[in-house]
């Protein structure tokens, strides 16, 4: 007999009975501390349920409250009884009523027998702990905490603030260097007895009585004074979430717990029948003698905390709705917005779509509805092309599109003839890559055969709209990557901007462009602009278009690809 179990219980007593019987069956004496708040009847029934065991004892009861000295007092009383009544016990394990042994008790006792003078207690200095609740680290040891954190949070916080303001600090007794760690330990008889029989125990207890959450620091600090060898980790697997409350294990964690090779785990949900049944069934563990390896469990819980605190970027949903002002309202992935390109080239969208894994949409914000790639009435996520539904919340429309198509680069055409509701959203969105050929909207106007007066009016309206958009893009709030050039600059050198677009769309392949696709015929466009100007409408966004611009005559349809393979 080498291991004794001190068990502190306050609820789910039927599970505690089961656990105590398990330990006791395997030759480990158990001392139980039952919370004083458990009523007399329940307590008596609990005692009766274990009356047939002579190696299960009950110690005097304390009224326990989270974060207070009472928990240390409970473990002290129980430990004293354990050391006193079971002289063969060499290691004492502190456990709760929801700590479940995951490996056969024999493996644990062997493990401890092989390490007779090692204390397994997580004990680190305050500087090294990231998991302080309420922002208190060192201050746990230097302030006073007369108010309950759970019941009187405001008083608690207020009193802490007051002490900080007046610069109050408690004196830490001589010889104590504060350490923190998990409250679930496994100490040797030597160390535990030394702590409990310390001549300075009265001083220590008086000091720790006023420390906050002393069950995480009392043994952790004092064992540093008495231990021959500290292994600073707990044998009990216990994970905490970001609020400092323990993660709970359920039936579906069975395999995960099996593979972890930990000796004891908490907290187990009291109704997790499968866990209790399988781990208390004496089945031999798969890997006898293995060291505990909770890596996978760590990862799962770290991910859970991450999801709760950071969430999935770009997701707007019923339980994640980031405030606009706090700046993390972005789309899920980068996307490309093109303004003016499809006006300049024939068959531009299919041409662009031929460059790998990219969806090239038409004008998603066209007044007659969203022109999705493929031209359907719906798209990924059953997003509707209806203009009314889209314009009801344009931001949500774009956000949904990018979220629904995660893993696939999206590109869409935009222009001054489209609904402009989303201009601020895309400008503020660091995921947006916006390429603009300013004034290019005049090209289809020039190619259309309408009345000149109508054209002039339309041109004035579109120029105003585009100017407004450009102003948004040039504002200080713009976080998108923006490239703007005038129509005039573009016709002189179309390859470079197209290459930029391609590089962003197909970042992995980086196809090299040797020639642009077929541009629309712009002969006479200079005169068209001059005519507009003569009518008092200066199309300044197009830049200084050469009046005598004469493009090469349109070539017959090419069959060679535009790619040069290296």
């Amino acid at each position: 007999m080498s291991l004794g179990v001190v068990m502190i219980v306050h609820e789910a007593l039927h599970r505690a009975t089961q656990l105590a019987r398990h330990w006791s069956d395997h030759g480990c004496p158990v001392v139980l501390h039952v919370d004083q708040r458990v009523d007399r009847d329940t307590y008596d029934r609990f005692v009766d349920s274990l009356a047939d065991r002579d190696n299960v004892l009950f110690c005097d009861r304390h009224r326990c409250e989270w974060g207070t000295w009472s928990l240390v007092a409970a473990s002290q009383t129980a430990s004293e009884l354990m050391l006193d009544r079971f002289p063969d016990v060499q290691h004492v394990l502190l456990a709760s009523g929801s700590c479940l042994p995951l490996r056969p008790v024999a493996e644990l006792t062997t493990y401890l027998r092989d390490r007779p003078s090692t204390d397994f207690i997580e004990s680190v200095t305050t500087e090294d702990v990231p998991w302080a609740i309420g922002g208190l680290n060192t201050e746990r040891f230097t302030l006073r905490f007369p108010f309950s954190w759970k019941r009187h949070r405001r008083l608690f916080d207020g009193y802490v603030r007051l002490q900080r303001r007046v610069g109050y600090k408690r004196r830490i007794p001589l010889g104590i260097s504060p350490h923190l760690g998990s409250q679930w330990w496994c100490l040797t008889r030597h160390t535990l007895a030394a702590i409990l029989n310390d001549p300075r125990r009265a001083v220590n207890d008086a000091y720790f009585r006023r420390v906050w959450i002393p069950d995480e620091s009392y043994y952790q600090t004092l064992s540093r004074q008495h231990s021959k060898k500290i292994e600073s980790r707990s044998l009990t697997l216990s994970k905490f979430d970001y609020q400092g409350k323990p993660h709970v294990f359920y039936d579906d964690h069975l395999q995960l717990l099996r593979r972890s090779d930990c000796f004891v785990a908490r907290k187990i949900w009291p109704h997790a029948d499968r866990l209790y049944d399988s781990f208390l069934s004496d089945a031999p563990s798969l890997s006898a003698g293995a060291e505990p390896n909770p890596g996978e469990i760590d990862r799962i819980f770290a991910k859970a905390v991450d999801r709760r605190t950071k969430g999935r970027p770009g997701l707007l949903m019923q339980s994640r709705f980031p405030h606009q002002r706090w700046g993390n309202r972005v789309t899920a992935e980068p996307y490309v917005v093109l303004q003016g390109f499809s006006e300049m080239f024939r068959g531009f969208e299919p041409w662009l779509a031929s460059f790998g894994k990219v969806r090239v949409h038409g004008h998603l914000f066209a007044p007659d509805g969203a022109h999705f790639a493929g031209g359907g009435g719906e798209y990924f996520g059953a997003l509707s092309s209806s203009a009314a539904l889209r314009d009801y919340d344009g931001t949500a429309f774009l956000n949904n599109l990018i979220w629904n198509t995660r893993g696939e680069r999206q590109c869409f055409q935009f222009g001054p003839a489209d609904t402009q509701d989303i201009t601020w959203d895309i400008a503020r969105d660091a995921n947006a890559r916006i390429h603009i050929i300013s004034g290019a909207w005049a090209v289809p106007l020039f190619l259309s055969e309408g009345r000149f007066a109508d054209m002039r009016r339309t041109a004035a309206r579109l120029q105003k709209t585009e100017s407004a958009f450009l102003k948004v893009l040039l504002s200080d709030h713009c976080r998108a990557r923006v490239k703007i050039q005038t129509l005039s600059d573009f016709v002189l050198n179309p390859i470079e901007p197209l290459q930029d677009v391609l590089d962003q769309l197909a970042a992995r392949d980086r196809p090299k462009l040797s020639a642009p696709p077929e541009m629309v015929h712009l002969g006479g466009f200079g005169e068209f602009l001059q005519n507009l100007k003569n009518q008092g409408m200066h199309l300044h966004l197009a830049g200084d278009f050469p009046t005598d611009y004469a493009p090469e005559p349109a070539q017959p349809a090419r069959t060679t690809p535009y790619l040069v393979t290296k």
């Binding site: 579906d252 859970a304 969430g311 707007l316 994640r320 996520g381 059953a382 009314a388 539904l389």
Partner: protein, 336 residues
């Protein structure tokens, strides 16, 4: 929040509680088995009318989740629903012939029952065509969730209403009593929802899904609200304000995170579009007992004339809650 707004909302909440108190006379107990309710029991609250065919599966589904007791208001059924429910050992049944509309679409009645029997219980308020799905619901009973919520000091749990529909025409596949309706209405829209925040009650107002896509594509602002908070650790002073969309005190409506994280949430799979739908919507239109002059049912009826197929190429077929979580419709939050 100004003290004035706060006070106004307090008055509003009191008014709702008084309404509920006055409307209690409209309810007559058919079978009151509430003495069976044990202190930690999980309760389901429902109002219904003529839902006999749905009831067997509805009760089974929630019993399997671990619900202990059902408190049901029957609003004038004549199809045998009442007799059927009265025979169930875990159902307490009240009947009323009064106006559904004037009882705030049943809210007043349920507020009263919740106040009287729901205090300090986890209360789940659902319709007979709504199936509650939460993280890990295939491996953990509802009590695991409520225990976790208790430990996390969370009082209310959001679950968005998700409209499910069949692949073919509505009603093409007949529904049999006891059958899982999700065998027929297996499809849903996964990514066309819009959200805005209601500044008065601080809840999110969610619209979209198939009903917006098909029935309200010309009038999206009238599309039905999909945000719901069906699971609440009830206190006597709480009140639902409009259906289960909004609660008072309004702190209960904060089931979402605004700093970028995800809170845990679930979904209510809404299996409205069974073969019972057409007859039901005709009847409801005649009774004129629904929200905003039953405009929702009017929209259905105009469209139902041309036998619409709700399914589209991008519809998603329901598999399990994990799929909904990956799609971003619900979240595990920090429950693992």
């Amino acid at each position: 929040m100004g003290a004035l707004t706060s006070y106004r909302l307090r008055l509003k909440r009191k008014r709702h509680l008084i309404r509920a108190f006055r409307k209690r006379h409209e309810l007559s107990a058919v079978k009151n088995r509430t003495t069976q309710i044990a202190p930690a029991d999980i309760l389901v609250f429902t109002t219904l009318r003529n839902e006999l065919v749905r009831l067997p599966y509805f009760l089974k589904y929630y019993r399997d989740l671990g619900v202990n007791h059902f408190l049901i208001v029957d609003n004038g059924s004549d199809d045998g629903s009442r007799e059927y429910l009265a025979q169930q050992d875990d159902v307490s049944l009240w009947a009323t012939g009064a106006s559904y509309k004037r009882a705030k679409f049943g809210v007043d009645w349920l507020n009263w029952l919740q106040r009287k029997y729901g205090h300090d219980h986890w209360c789940l308020t659902v319709d007979t065509d709504e199936f509650f799905v939460y993280p890990f619901c295939d491996t953990r009973p509802l009590r695991a969730l409520t225990d976790w919520l208790d430990a996390s000091e969370i009082r209310s749990f959001g679950a968005m209403l998700m409209d499910m529909y069949p692949e073919g025409q509505i009603g093409a596949e007949p529904y049999q009593a006891g059958q899982n309706p999700l065998e027929i209405t297996r499809w849903f829209d996964s990514g066309n929802y819009t959200i805005r925040k209601n500044s008065q009650f601080r809840n999110l107002w969610i619209q979209g899904g198939v009903r917006a896509r098909v029935f309200f594509d010309d009038n999206p602002e009238r599309a039905p609200a999909l945000n719901k908070i069906p699971l609440v650790r009830w206190r006597r002073s709480y009140a639902y304000v409009s259906s289960t969309h909004t609660l008072l005190p309004r702190g209960l409506n904060l089931v979402y995170d605004e700093s970028g994280g995800e809170k845990a949430s679930g979904c209510l799979l809404h299996t409205k579009f069974l073969d019972t739908f057409e007859a039901k919507s005709k009847e409801e239109l005649q009774r004129r007992q629904h929200y905003a002059n039953s405009h929702e049912y009017r929209a259905y009826n105009t469209r139902m004339a041309d036998d619409p197929v709700l399914w589209c190429e991008w519809s998603e077929e329901y598999i399990n809650w994990r799929q909904l979580e990956v799609l971003g419709l619900m979240s595990k939050g920090n429950w693992a």
